[in-house]
């Protein structure tokens, strides 16, 4: 492993599929970067991607962005790293991106020695770790029992720098990683070249969302230069500026703690970080620390099927109903409960009816401070969830009549109380999933949870 006095890199985008500014990416190659990277995943899209094995972005947008990254990396002769492939980074997602990469390489005529790193976890392996006391909750964590591993649709482990470094040591042109810590993509090469992990991880943290840590413009790419005593962050693109405040503020984004960030091999500590303007668009970071952990840990993410869902959307304008909405909804729900039990023979644990009242508290739920305000109309979304799509739809159909015609004392005679938006009134939503793990695993070795395969895409170079 050769040490280097500095490592330079380009973060092509904060999310593969959102868009890569190709002109800025090509112009950033003047920096003579040692690698290009981009994150392609997040839990922020929700549990559906991990549960279903599908990506949150259109194939075309991922192909466009990956084309720019692969073309730039081959032109510069430097490795490209993509982490958290296909949104959730499970095997189905990695295969999906690998297929896109293969298509790009064929169309453009590239030769790309690819390291594919898989991070989906086997349920029997996780059960064994659990029984050995090697799976521990983070705070807050959902309940965990032995059956959870088998019940989950997919579970992934979030890799750190180690599998990426092994792939770079192998001489990969392209590292396609399953679920991966975002800053690890950027910390892998600098730390393997002997540069300080505090600065390398911190720069990765700043740049992993692309130019989000900048102000003054859109598009562009962001670059990092890691040296022994400083990290330099500089955007490339019209009007984009990094300022000490914009870089410092970015460490708040989507993090529960702005100073301490737990990674597999330790904790990034920004409490002593200093941000200094080098020029009007460049920031120097110093003082960031990385505390190595005594135990190597891998964060787990899991999703399990809740059931299938059908939804009905509508609204109520009648002030007599809106004024006593809780009571009216309670009566409607009781009618639905009885007919589901009587006609479908389902016990309460076999189905769920969720009612969201827009205009009142649909967005903030029990945290809504203005729940008692009476709106002039409310939007209502009724979600029926059950074991099969067919059952969920039947529940939605049974729910329609009481919603449509349940009365109020003020009106004599039959009324139609619910304004349906659609015909049919219900929409079949398919499978719905929940996140079921916020835990860490303590593997026996750093590499046992990750599997690397070298694949030659396109013709091998002589």
């Amino acid at each position: 492993m050769n040490n280097m006095s500095e490592v330079r890199y380009v973060a092509a985008t904060g999310a593969l599929g959102v868009g890569v500014d190709q002109a800025a990416l090509m112009s950033s190659l003047e920096l003579k970067p040692h690698f290009i990277a981009a994150d392609a995943g997040t839990t922020d899209a929700g549990p559906f991607s991990l549960g279903s094995g599908r990506a949150a972005f259109a194939r075309e947008s991922v192909k466009r962005d990956l084309t720019h990254v692969l073309v730039a990396s081959r032109e510069a002769g430097i490795p490209a790293l993509i982490g958290s492939a296909g949104t959730a980074g499970a095997d189905a997602h990695v295969d999906w991106v690998l297929d896109i990469a293969r298509e790009i390489v064929d169309e453009v005529g590239l030769s790309v020695r690819t390291a594919v790193i898989r991070s989906q976890q086997n349920s029997a392996y996780l059960l064994q770790l659990y029984r050995e006391g090697r799976i521990r909750p983070l705070d807050p964590a959902p309940p965990l029992d032995e059956k959870l591993f088998e019940r989950s649709s997919r579970i992934v482990g979030m890799m750190g720098v180690e599998p990426l470094q092994a792939a770079l040591e192998e001489g990969a042109d392209f590292v396609l990683a399953g679920r991966c810590s975002d800053p690890a993509l950027y910390a892998a090469l600098p730390t393997m070249r002997g540069l300080p992990p505090g600065l390398a991880w911190h720069a990765g943290k700043v740049t992993e969302c692309g130019t989000m840590a900048c102000e003054g413009g859109r598009g562009g790419v962001i670059t990092g230069t890691i040296r022994e005593h400083e990290a330099i962050i500089r955007p490339v693109g019209d009007g984009l500026r990094c300022t000490p405040q914009s870089v410092a503020a970015h460490s708040l984004y989507e993090n529960a703690d702005p100073y301490l960030h737990k990674e597999c091999s330790g904790t990034l500590d920004l409490s002593g970080s200093q941000y200094i303007a080098v020029d009007e668009r460049t920031v120097r970071i110093t003082g960031s620390a990385f505390h190595p952990a005594a135990e190597y840990t891998v964060k787990l993410e899991g999703a399990e099927l809740i059931g299938h869902q059908s939804v009905m959307i509508g609204g109520i304008r009648d002030p007599y109903i809106v004024n006593r909405l809780d009571q009216w909804l309670g009566e409607v729900r009781a009618i639905i409960d009885r007919s589901v039990e009587r006609l479908l023979g389902l016990s309460p644990s076999e189905w769920t009816l969720t009612v969201h009242v827009y205009g009142r508290d649909a967005i903030m739920g029990r945290m809504e401070p203005e729940r008692s305000a009476v709106p002039h109309e409310v939007g209502i979304v009724v979600e029926a969830t059950a074991g099969t799509q067919d059952t969920a739809t039947k529940i939605a159909q049974l729910a329609r009549q009481p919603f449509l015609h349940h009365g109020v004392p003020e009106w004599m005679g039959g009324i139609t109380s619910f304004a349906c938006l659609h015909n049919p009134a219900h929409i079949e939503r398919g499978a719905v999933y929940r996140f079921n793990l916020n835990h860490i695993a303590i593997p026996h070795t750093q590499m046992e949870m990750f599997r690397t395969e070298i694949v030659q895409l396109g013709k091998a170079r002589a």
Binding site: T43, D44, G46, P47, F48, L138, P140, A141, P142, P244, Q245, A248, A249, S251, L252, Y253, E254, N255, A256, D257, P258, Y259, S273, Q274, Y275, I306, T352, T354, H356, A362, I363, M364, G365, R366, M367, P369, E383, T385, V432, Y433, R434, F435, N438
Partner: protein, 101 residues
């Protein structure tokens, strides 16, 4: 003056599927220190506004970012049945009306 009138940004967001995090960013040093010295932003005040346990709230004052941050467990896990805000982006509103002396 209300916190929303002083701030350049007040936002909420998921910090992973199990946590909500709230950022309050001030546009300049004077306003940041005015809010900080007022002592109005506290764990207790936040826990009252968001009806959660004080022990579950984390609070940070970030001088170099001119920002304040609160984090709390999500009342419903992201995307689970009943969750009405998948990305957690529309939960900050009660912070807007905090009166800053």
């Amino acid at each position: 003056m209300k916190l929303a009138e002083l701030s350049s940004l007040i936002r909420s967001k998921n910090a992973g599927p199990f946590t909500l995090t709230f950022d309050i960013v001030l546009p300049n040093e004077a306003d940041y220190w005015r809010v900080k010295r007022s002592g109005v932003l506290t764990v207790k005040r936040f826990a009252e506004l968001f009806r959660c346990d004080m022990a579950a709230v984390k609070y940070f004052e970030c001088d170099n970012a001119r920002a304040f941050k609160f984090s709390m467990p999500r009342p419903i896990v992201q995307g689970d049945l009943g969750d009405g805000d998948l990305h957690g982006g529309q939960q900050f509103i009660p912070l807007m009306n905090i009166e800053i002396p």
